[in-house]
Symmetry: C2
DNA sequence: TAGATTGTTAATCGATTAACAATC
DNA sequence: TAGATTGTTAATCGATTAACAATC
């Protein structure tokens, strides 16, 4: 409804709020102030209030926020009351791992099919789905109105597969292939580049080590 | 050597530079200007130059950057010439998928062991390693001087396991458990919260849809 | 040398934090 | 009402982009 664009920095924090509020709710806590939430989550109270106020006022002056209400509102903002139909492209280890991860279903992400180009895998049961040949991907996406494709194939084929998905009406791609996809800007892409993440960890480990060796005054 | 702190925003971009430069090198391209790289990577030339200059001058005025040299320098910054010994905690689908992912080894991340608390999995071969019981984790970390632990266990146990790892000298944790770990600040943590990532994708899909419906003038 | 392109300073933009008036 | 805490404006900080002098 609201028309001002929300920054991706804010969006990126919403799932974490959602998680903490869910936990507070499960603990039976009814109200919380931005300051209390700040202490728990280790972010400033100011940021919490700013973030929430991007979407309108969820709190009440002098009282704070109602945990359950806030939890539901953030879920609604994230679109979790809607369901999404998704397919997995690539039935390797990672594709199978994601297919078997039940928690996504809980949030409305419904696993509808899994595809691979390796004939040896055709018909293999993963969760309750049989692996289908890649050739069936296009028609399947159309007929089942698939929203989201999860790309867990090697990077060599990923760019082309993404184009085929786009041509058949996919709305979003969750991309685990180690390559940047080239799709129209109305198609949403969320990249999970695992090796990039691991390299970042390595950098931070190395940096900390060399820092603590060389800090003046820390010697001997 | 240098003492100014590099921002995580910059560090986060290094693996992507590294990837593109590796591809350019493989294509046999010897030199590149920040403007050319800008066109390929879709980031500003200014940002590229600023980023590189955090680490000293890698280029040459009037010429540009030598691809191979730049590639190697970034690899060095990321610490990829060193090796890291890692273990995986949790031999479920995701743990096995990561264990089988060969590409990490290529970058010096050496898979040394995998642990689980489920006795049915003990001794099961994953890649070339047998699944070990959780009880052996501490001694294994110490004896083999493990740097990095990959946490692919449910969130319930993750916080405690992380503490045990820290007590035994781990330097970094690659955390796939859907919980924030509570470790001393000298321990590096890199979180991969898959469901957060998927929620972000869902938000962006929904947002785009409602926007294109409501944009003034697009009505029919 | 002239042309190209870096390295670096300055300007802008956006995100975070601080402050406080509004109000429950 | 008085106290608490939000919603929101203003101040600050940091990151990105633009501009240009240095120099290959």
């Amino acid at each position: 409804m609201d028309n001002k664009e929300i920054s991706q920095a804010v969006i990126g924090r919403l799932p974490r709020y959602f998680r903490y509020l869910g936990e507070l709710k499960d603990e039976g806590i009814e109200r919380i102030s931005s300051q209390e939430l700040s202490d728990i989550m280790k972010v400033t109270a100011s940021q919490i209030r700013q973030d929430f106020n991007n979407f309108g006022g969820f709190g009440q002056q002098g009282y704070g926020y109602k945990v359950e209400y806030l939890y539901e509102e953030i879920g609604r903002i994230l679109g979790l009351e809607k369901t999404h139909d998704l397919i997995i492209i690539g039935a390797g280890n990672l594709g199978q791992a994601l297919a078997n991860y039940m928690n996504f279903e809980r949030r409305g992400f419904l696993f509808r099919g899994i595809f691979d180009q390796n004939p040896e895998l055709y018909g293999k049961k993963i969760r309750n789905m049989e692996v289908r040949p890649m050739e069936e991907m296009e028609s399947f996406v159309k007929q089942n109105e698939i929203d989201i494709a999860v790309l867990t194939i090697p990077k060599a084929g990923a760019v082309k597969v993404a184009e085929r998905l786009v041509d058949n009406g996919i709305k979003g791609i969750w991309n685990f292939a180690h390559v940047d996809l080239n799709v129209p800007k109305e198609i949403q892409v969320e990249n999970v580049h695992l090796s990039d993440s691991l390299m970042k960890l390595a950098y931070n480990i190395n940096r900390y080590e060399s820092e603590s060796i060389q800090t003046p005054g820390s010697s001997l």
